[in-house]
Symmetry: C2
Subunit: 230 residues, 2 copies
């Protein structure tokens, strides 16, 4: 029985953390950028206390790095970090797929299938934003079907670190076609409840993505400088 006017108005530090996290993930604050407390306080209209608490949370999530007595900066991933992080994400998604294949209901499967078709439509229209939105939605559904909130949370946290790379807008035609094909296989394996197959497919999918991103980094098309404060 919830309060009637249940606008829980979560604590300020939580709200600030959410907004900061959003800004970092969306690329609104570039990797390596300094988080100036006074400045952010003015923008968000809060005092330094909740802001600093929020920054500490983001640091624990690995989204920002704390430099002692020198403030915080948006986490900067060098090539090795990206490789490592993708490796972990691949493992987590593989597990997620494995569990989802075992536990998914027909209704959930139907919904994922529907989203998949919408994604095909977006692909046909070359509508990249919609495609990515649907892609993320499908991944969320798979995570949900895995029935493991701890796994889902861990995935989200680690995944957030990769999103600061903003490698989305780079996707050429061939790769796109191939990705779509792999997604079709995913739905297939989910339908057949092929846990092992789906797991392996997801891992392979992620490792390919990793290599693509690494190539982008190497070619410098990923405004991602090498770590300067080694």
């Amino acid at each position: 029985m919830n309060n009637i006017v249940s606008i829980p108005r979560q604590s300020l530090h939580q709200e600030v953390a959410n907004r900061l996290r959003q800004r970092i993930i969306e690329g609104d604050m570039a990797p390596g950028a300094k988080l100036n407390e006074r400045e952010l306080c003015e923008v968000m209209n809060v005092s330094r206390t909740p802001l600093r608490e929020a920054i500490k949370m983001l640091a624990a999530e690995g989204l920002v790095e704390l430099l002692p007595t020198r403030g915080a900066v948006v986490a900067q991933l060098d090539e090795q970090d990206v490789i490592d992080t993708f490796e972990v994400i691949a493992g987590l998604e593989g597990l997620s797929g494995e569990l989802a294949a075992q536990r998914i209901t027909d209704e959930e499967l139907a919904e994922i299938r529907a989203l998949h078709f919408e994604m095909c439509a977006a692909h046909a229209r070359r509508d990249l934003p919609t495609y990515y939105r649907l892609n993320a939605a499908i991944h969320e559904r798979i995570n949900a079907a895995a029935r493991n909130p701890v796994l889902a949370q861990t995935w989200r946290t680690v995944n957030a670190r990769l999103q600061v790379l903003r490698f989305r807008s780079n996707l050429d035609g061939t790769k796109w076609d191939q990705a779509l094909q792999e997604h079709e296989q995913m739905v297939d394996m989910l339908a057949r409840r092929d846990a092992d197959g789906l797991s392996k497919l997801l891992v392979r999918h992620l490792l390919v993505k990793r290599d693509t991103v690494i190539d982008l980094m190497r070619s410098g098309r990923l405004h991602q400088p090498t770590k300067e404060n080694a």
Copy 2:
């Protein structure tokens, strides 16, 4: 080239977070226990600001839970949480083993082998504390051999949540013998660089451990009450 007098004297909130984390993991603060700020301030001799920042970090790590306007409590895992967490840990350790088998050097392997023999000695002497210390050391070595700091960090964070269960002191003879045997197999597979085999073995090992812990919880031998604030 580091500073000569490099006693970095990390910031207070970091120090406080470490001490709190330690206390929680060691069972010094029971799951569900309230973190009274005034009280902890007195004990640690710091003001509320760094203390609260530390608590926020632990919350992001999943070690404490924040109740809006009602403070923080040590994270309380119900049965499902334990199942879920073990599932994730199993996945992470499986991956760690897989990578370690591919990347371990002969020197690292030799060291692990040595630790394993020490562990056998501890087992023969029924020296449980030493056994667990060596067990943890071996796991750390495997993590190190996997050459993936992101994986290692993720593992540590998720693993910390399980340690609050303090299920260590419960280990009967049969289970102990079996565990030792499995450890021998692990060293074997590492030596043969059998990535897949080691991965599967570690996962199986963890899932058995999970079932043991769940049994302990059910039988109430694991001072772990069911979540009262559902």
